[in-house]
């Protein structure tokens, strides 16, 4: 069997450490809360599938989780029908990461919707930036040069500003 009891425990502990990160990545790619649960499930399953190959000496655990979570999310986003079909299984009926949203946060949902207007790769970049990752770390997760990250982030910020400006003017008036 692939799973040893110690590995299960280690994975549970690992998941506990990174559950917020998984939730935030899923939030960026799935504005719909129900779809978000399915996506979180997919991410957890892929994390488990790759867990025995995780080498802490090669990459920080957060870098590793970001890569997997972003890869699964972007792939799911580009193949929504397939994800819906897969979610019909018993694993989707009971989520591994149980998420209860007591009070929908309007501002956060609004933010998700705003970021949702960006291209999939741009969303990944802005998410990592908002999460406080430094440009070299973002470059390592994405597979780009640090200069590219800076340039791209600058353009994304400009784009967001342009989307935010009319709203601001509207509120001021």
């Amino acid at each position: 069997l692939k799973a040893q009891p110690s590995q299960e425990d280690a994975f549970t502990h690992f998941l506990e450490q990174h559950k917020l990160l998984i939730m935030k990545v899923a939030g960026i790619y799935c504005p719909n809360p129900e779809d978000r649960k399915d996506l979180m499930q997919d991410i957890v399953l892929q994390l488990w599938r790759s867990f025995d190959r995780f080498d802490p000496n090669q990459a920080a655990s957060s870098t590793w989780v970001y890569r997997i979570a972003l890869n699964v999310s972007i792939s799911s986003l580009r193949k929504v029908k397939s994800r819906q079909k897969n979610s019909a299984g018993y694993l989707a009926a009971q989520p591994i990461l149980h998420w209860e949203n007591p009070e929908p946060d309007d501002q956060l949902e609004q933010l998700y919707q705003l970021i949702n207007r960006l291209h999939p790769l741009e969303r990944a970049l802005i998410l990592l930036h908002l999460e406080g990752c430094k440009n070299p770390e973002i470059a390592d997760i994405m597979g780009m040069s640090t200069t590219n990250v800076s340039t791209k982030l600058y353009r994304i910020k400009e784009k967001l500003k342009s989307w935010l400006s009319p709203k601001k003017k509207h509120h001021e008036s």
Partner: protein
């Protein structure tokens, strides 16, 4: 809302969000003892099926080619069919190899490029059939008629030539239309591959 506010909103609910997510440990234990499927990309079972069918087809064509090697009217069509069958098998093998090479823990751009390229190959493979089928219809009929019914299709002379010319025209028209009006899925795949390339080459 400005960029500073966005950052504040992003982190404002971290504590609250953390409390709302709990791990279903019982289900997690159940999952960790089972083999779980990768959701990164799904290879269609037809890829395996095609390889099996192509293997039998290649074996049959090799046998036919050996039996009729010195009869050029049969060896040439069989040779064409054999080449296209080998090419198709290599393409399918390459897709499977790429699929098993996928690693979700590699960088986002690298993995997404591989996933998207696989998607493109699948779409390309499906659409190329529309051109290949009429293009190779004549050699196929010649070989099958001879092998299974010992019938020489060449005896039909004019009909065979008209059919061949007609199938070439059909293949050309279909090829032109597919190229001129690519499907939405192909367009999206190519656009995303372009986006990946541009992101990497800024």
């Amino acid at each position: 809302m400005n960029l500073e506010e966005i950052t504040k909103i992003w982190h404002a609910n971290d504590e609250q969000l953390l409390d709302t997510v709990s791990i279903n440990k019982q289900l997690l234990t159940e999952v960790t003892t089972k083999r779980v499927q990768s959701r990164l990309y799904e290879i269609k079972w037809t890829a395996y099926f095609e390889i099996v069918v192509e293997s039998f087809w290649i074996i049959f064509l090799e046998g036919f080619l050996v039996d009729h090697f010195w009869e050029v009217q049969y060896s040439i069509p069989a040779g064409f069919l054999l080449l296209i069958a080998i090419f198709s098998m290599i393409l399918n093998g390459s897709r499977l190899h790429r699929f098993y090479q996928l690693d979700a823990s590699k960088t986002v751009l690298e993995t997404q490029r591989q996933v998207e390229y696989l998607r493109y190959l699948e779409l390309f493979d499906n659409r190329s059939l529309y051109v290949i089928m009429p293009l190779f219809a004549t050699p196929f009929l010649i070989v099958v008629a001879k092998a299974f019914f010992n019938f020489e299709l060449y005896s039909w002379g004019d009909i065979l030539w008209n059919f061949t010319i007609g199938s070439f025209v059909v293949a050309f028209i279909i090829g032109y239309l597919l190229n001129r009006y690519p499907s939405r899925a192909i367009r999206e795949t190519l656009d995303f591959l372009k986006e990946i390339k541009e992101t990497n080459a800024l």
